[in-house]
Symmetry: C2
Subunit: 186 residues, 2 copies
DNA sequence: TCTGGATACCTCGCCTCCGAGGTATCGCGG
DNA sequence: CCGCGATACCTCGGAGGCGAGGTATCCAGA
């Protein structure tokens, strides 16, 4: 997850760890800050896996910086993760937002639409926070004002996202029609 | 976090591990499923800490069940966590929803309102996913349709929640006025 | 001159989580 | 009668996150 975001940011620009840290802080940090002790080992893992290379640029500003560059295998790995995200990356809001942040890099309207469709499918499968036996409880059934709030907020959120998803999937379809030769589709 | 949810569910009813597993699956499971290998060690930790006790009820249905009961120290711990949640529990959507799910148990309108106010404060402090240097980028500045989507969804979500928070904080204030003797307040 | 804060990086140990596996019991369908 | 699925519980190893600590440099302000 973190590694995914690192690859994503490096796909846009060469960065050093500290700058990466700041961008990550903006993207997910106000939600869940990333500790140094998490970031630097993650960079090391990516380096070991051959997804990034590290070049020391001696003291441009203050201390020497280790500039990170995404390798070709690194970019391939990023695209693989974007094309076929894990289930948790679809369902977990934070992870899903990371996917969205870099989905543009996938550069294939059909594949992008396919990812959005997975999220659409997830949001349209019925699910409830609370059950009375087997019966799902909706906001109207619940007495507790806080649980009511949860359900109301969740409802509006998912409605908004569903609208956006449907709209965007359609737009991606149109873009696909223009770029491709007309073919028979399922 | 998981332990917090366990305490919360046990505050409502005596449960065995498997039933707990199902309730947790409903509350957070569609977002991020909880593995057995996570749940049972967590129960053990709570037992060791003296927050829950385990009684074996021999084979009512199938296999023997280990019924879990919240102890007094367990309930105190739950209330402590509700009254004074960690920062991450305020900022992380998933964790925040867990707090909301059990905030009713706090049974003190002023303390409940204080928790909601922390969330309110978090949501009203300016934050952005992306920056151009130091300048935060809003949906209108962004070209990428996916990032636009993120920003739009986040905006609607937070607006909805802010409305609910303000409304609910006010209602809690009124309830407090009725139950308390009139005193000078800051 | 000294301190604090920003920049920039790193290590270590602890804890938690996860997945993969295992162990039972019972009921139902084939 | 045999396997499957549900119920119910558990262990273990590996991976990853976190906090606390450390190491430098440089600049601004007291």
């Amino acid at each position: 997850m973190l590694e995914f975001a690192i690859l994503g940011f490096l796909a846009d620009a060469r960065l050093h760890g500290y700058e990466l840290r700041n961008r990550l802080a903006a993207l997910t940090g106000h939600i869940r800050p990333i500790a140094d002790g998490t970031l630097y080992p993650a960079i090391k893992r990516l380096e070991k896996a051959g997804f990034v290379t590290k070049d020391l640029e001696p003291g441009i500003v203050f201390a020497p910086r280790h500039m990170l560059t995404l390798t070709d295998t690194g970019r391939a790995e990023l695209l693989r993760l974007l094309r076929d995200p894990k289930d948790v990356s679809i369902t977990d809001e934070n992870q899903w937002f990371c996917v969205l942040a870099f989905l543009r890099l996938l550069d294939d309207p059909a594949a992008q639409a396919a990812v959005l469709k997975r999220r659409l499918e997830f949001l349209t499968t019925p699910a409830s926070f609370f059950y009375d036996g087997d019966r799902p409880l909706s906001a109207e059934d619940v007495d507790d004002p806080f649980r009511r709030g949860m359900l109301e907020i969740a409802r509006v959120t998912s409605r908004t996202e569903l609208e956006w998803l449907r709209r965007t999937i359609e737009e991606l379809g149109e873009r696909e029609d223009k770029s491709d030769q007309p073919t028979v589709r399922d």
